[in-house]
């Protein structure tokens, strides 16, 4: 999976809910260099929104922490997105990735990871309880 990185954008921002829209807009702008279809753009925005919202809601439930997002453009028209936090972490990742599993109560539906995976195609979740979570997604874009 070692592919040449053609472009990178790294940003770090506080886990305030207003930044969810900012993060997905920036991801959409970054991805635009690949001339994506409207649907691909929507997929990327939605997946980023899910990952960043998880960091806001679950990683830092009672404080404002830092979220780091890294966007990479890889050779072959592939986009690589990572969203990391230093928050609460996830005990059981397989369970967390199960559709409709949520610790968020009635405010959440437990579909975030399922949407990230189906909209992007590739999703990897790494986490250490008490230390934080890293979500990495990849998608090949373009019409070649």
């Amino acid at each position: 999976m070692k592919k040449k990185i053609l472009n990178t954008l790294k940003l770090s921002f506080p886990s305030r809910s207003a930044n969810e829209a900012l993060a997905r807009s920036i991801a959409a702008a970054f991805v635009s260099q690949l001339d994506p279809t409207m649907e691909e753009l929507c997929d990327v925005k939605t997946a980023v929104s899910e990952a960043v919202t998880n960091a806001v809601v679950h990683a830092y439930p009672d404080r404002v922490g830092t979220i780091e997002m890294t966007l990479r453009l890889l050779e072959g028209g592939e986009i690589d997105i990572s969203v990391r936090d230093k928050g609460r972490g996830i005990e059981n990742i397989d369970l967390a990735r199960t559709p409709t599993y949520t610790t968020g109560g009635a405010d959440r539906s437990g579909m975030g990871f399922t949407i990230m995976e189906s909209f992007m195609g590739y999703l990897r979740v790494l986490s250490t309880p008490g230390r934080g979570t890293s979500v990495r997604m990849r998608k090949k874009l373009g019409h070649e």
Partner: protein, 102 residues
């Protein structure tokens, strides 16, 4: 996001404008519930035509309104669903509870 309230021939209609994410859903949902407390409609139309973005936060919003209407013996109907919002609601199987337009 902005919420617009209307009356139509069936009852009342809520039109959602803009981007429905976690940030927007929190205030919008509280506002819609407060409005339902006052108006107590038996038929609520949720019009999503004016949405430009929706993530999984939209699922919880729809389910919350569905439960609220069902508890009152009323009906929730979704109209004018853009394709991106339909994909999200379908992923969660929402169409088993709430009828969504074909």
């Amino acid at each position: 996001m902005r919420v617009e309230y209307k009356t139509n021939h069936r009852g009342t209609e809520v039109v959602l404008w803009g981007e429905l994410d976690h940030h927007a859903a929190r205030t919008a949902l509280a506002e819609i519930h407060a409005w339902l407390d006052q108006t107590m409609p038996m038929h609520l139309t949720l019009n999503m035509a004016r949405l430009s973005f929706m993530d999984s936060s939209g699922i919880a919003l729809v389910l919350s309104l569905y439960k609220r209407m069902a508890a009152l013996g009323g009906i929730l109907e979704i109209t004018d669903l853009p394709p991106f919002a339909r994909r999200i609601l379908k992923a969660a199987g929402v169409e088993k509870l709430v009828s969504i337009p074909a």
